[in-house]
């Protein structure tokens, strides 16, 4: 029974995507909406990405320096570990988990409210492809701003590591810099970018699916918002496993 329910939901999700990925009714209106979404979903998320990445970068450095490092480990290990963790997992997967809470609930509640107040019906009556008009700009906006968010997250994490070494005197800047530069593999950065773009697609489409198909009132909008965050978080974790294996 659960499988059937899941398959029906997946079918509805695919049908929605079919409507979303069609030619916009008016390209000018698409770009107008796209720029608004870039601001709402992307630029507005920079603050939280920077703050969390800065502190996580600092904490990783502290953990390695204070709790993991021992006499047999080189002094540059905290810098190396901070960089690798930020590049490989935090700035892509964990950052997207955080974004699924912020962006996912935003998308689901916005579309859900539009559905229950008949604003989506109004678009349909006008002959507008409502799924395309409302959802496509969100997907394109989040996917296209992901590389910038990943870059900022990595940069903030590294800055956090430097800041904590400098402020708390838990090592030397020289050791940290050696670690940061040690055995750098550029592909790790691109792997993080690719994963984050994929997760951006998942966050927007899943949240849009829940919001767009709301039936009822404000309680259902709240439920849709919660379901959007929970489902996209789980799917990010599951696909992360496969993507990491695939891209490594």
């Amino acid at each position: 029974m659960v499988l059937v329910k899941w398959l029906i939901a997946f079918g509805k999700y695919l049908r929605m995507l079919h409507r979303v990925f069609s030619r916009p009714d008016r390209v000018r209106m698409f770009f107008k909406k796209y720029y608004a979404e870039i601001y709402q979903l992307g630029i507005d998320s920079i603050g939280i990405v920077l703050v969390i990445s800065l502190f996580i970068g600092a904490v990783i450095c502290i953990q390695f320096k204070m709790n993991i490092q021992s006499s047999w480990m080189p002094a540059w290990v905290p810098g190396y570990a901070s960089r690798e963790i930020m590049l490989l997992e935090f700035s892509s997967s964990i950052m997207c988990l955080i974004l699924s809470g912020k962006v996912g609930s935003n998308v689901a509640s916005e579309l859900g409210t539009m559905r229950v107040t008949q604003q989506i019906d109004a678009l349909d009556i006008m002959g507008v492809n409502s799924a395309n008009y409302l959802i496509l700009p969100k997907i394109v906006a989040l996917v296209s701003i992901m590389p910038i968010l990943v870059t900022l997250s990595v940069a903030a994490g590294i800055a956090g590591a430097y800041a904590i070494v400098y402020i708390a005197h838990i090592g030397t800047i020289r050791d940290l810099t050696i670690g940061m530069q040690y055995s750098f593999n550029q592909w790790f950065f691109w792997m993080g970018v690719i994963k984050a773009m994929f997760f951006g697609f998942l966050i927007t489409t899943i949240s849009a699916y829940y919001g767009y198909n709301v039936k009822g009132g404000s309680v259902e909008v709240g439920k849709a918002s919660t379901n959007a965050v929970v489902t996209s978080s789980i799917l990010i974790l599951v696909t992360d496993t496969f993507l990491t294996q695939l891209l490594s």
Partner: protein, 251 residues
């Protein structure tokens, strides 16, 4: 002109509409009336294409909406304007942006011409001075008027109004009714109004369809209604003491 032929609709075995036939003519305000739960909204949703009936035909000037291809349906929808019960204005847009929205989407006019048309529509509904306000800053009546302006901006052939007076005081309801009536005459539109407001029925009901538990019970105009011998219709129309007394005075 919109014609309904044997429209039926059920939800999970529960019959909501049964064999509804009707003709809604151009330049007339056609009303669908009935008690809450009688199937008015479902019928309206079927007519505008938000729901698909289980059986029957919906003919827009002779062409069956249910048999149209996707692209033809989109073209037909661009000739429709709709006023929703809750106005359904886009929250994030100002009033003028709301009215300009259909023009921005489908008109090939320049920005200046589109804005001029939107202002013309707002002036028509006496909302010229509220163009830069957000829907949340407007009263219920003003929101309805803004929604009417948006509905007529593309000069539609068909206008649909779902409970246009719900939540409005009697005087504002009268303003909205008159507006719908005048706009229908000015543009020779086919207008269908879904209502249970007796003032609307007596004021603008040129063609009235009365639904009772999903069946078409009665059809006529506002003059016929006072003399109707249909018990169910009379129970509905003269439900309040005030209207009963009014009828006695009339008799």
């Amino acid at each position: 002109m919109i014609e309904l032929k044997s429209i039926s609709k059920s939800f999970e075995g529960k019959r909501v509409l049964h064999d509804i036939n009707g003709l809604f003519e151009n330049g007339k305000t056609n009303l669908i009336i009935g008690r809450s739960g009688s199937g008015k909204t479902v019928l309206m949703n079927c007519i505008v294409g938000l729901m698909r009936p289980d059986a029957g035909q919906i003919l827009y000037d002779g062409q069956d909406m249910l048999a149209l291809s996707k692209s033809s349906l989109v073209m037909l929808r661009r000739q429709m304007g709709m006023l929703f019960q809750g106005s359904a204005l886009f929250d994030s847009m100002t009033v003028i942006e709301n009215v300009m929205f259909p023009l921005d989407m489908f008109s090939t006019d320049s920005y200046k011409e589109r804005k001029h048309r939107a202002q013309e529509c707002l002036d028509r509904v006496n909302l010229g001075d509220a163009e830069n306000k957000l829907p949340g800053e407007l009263s219920g009546g003003m929101q309805k008027r803004a929604a009417i302006a948006r509905a007529i901006s593309m000069r539609p052939k068909y206008l649909f109004c779902d409970e246009p007076n719900s939540g409005l005081d009697p005087k504002t309801s009268l303003v909205i009714d008159n507006l719908i009536f005048e706009i229908t005459k000015e543009n020779a539109m086919t207008t269908i109004v879904n209502t249970h407001d007796m003032n609307s029925v007596m004021g603008i009901g040129e063609n009235i369809v009365f639904l009772y538990h999903g069946d078409k019970e009665w059809q006529g105009n506002k003059d016929d209604i006072l003399n109707s011998q249909n018990q169910r219709l009379n129970d509905f129309i003269f439900a309040s003491d005030f209207s009963k007394k009014l009828r006695q005075v009339n008799e």
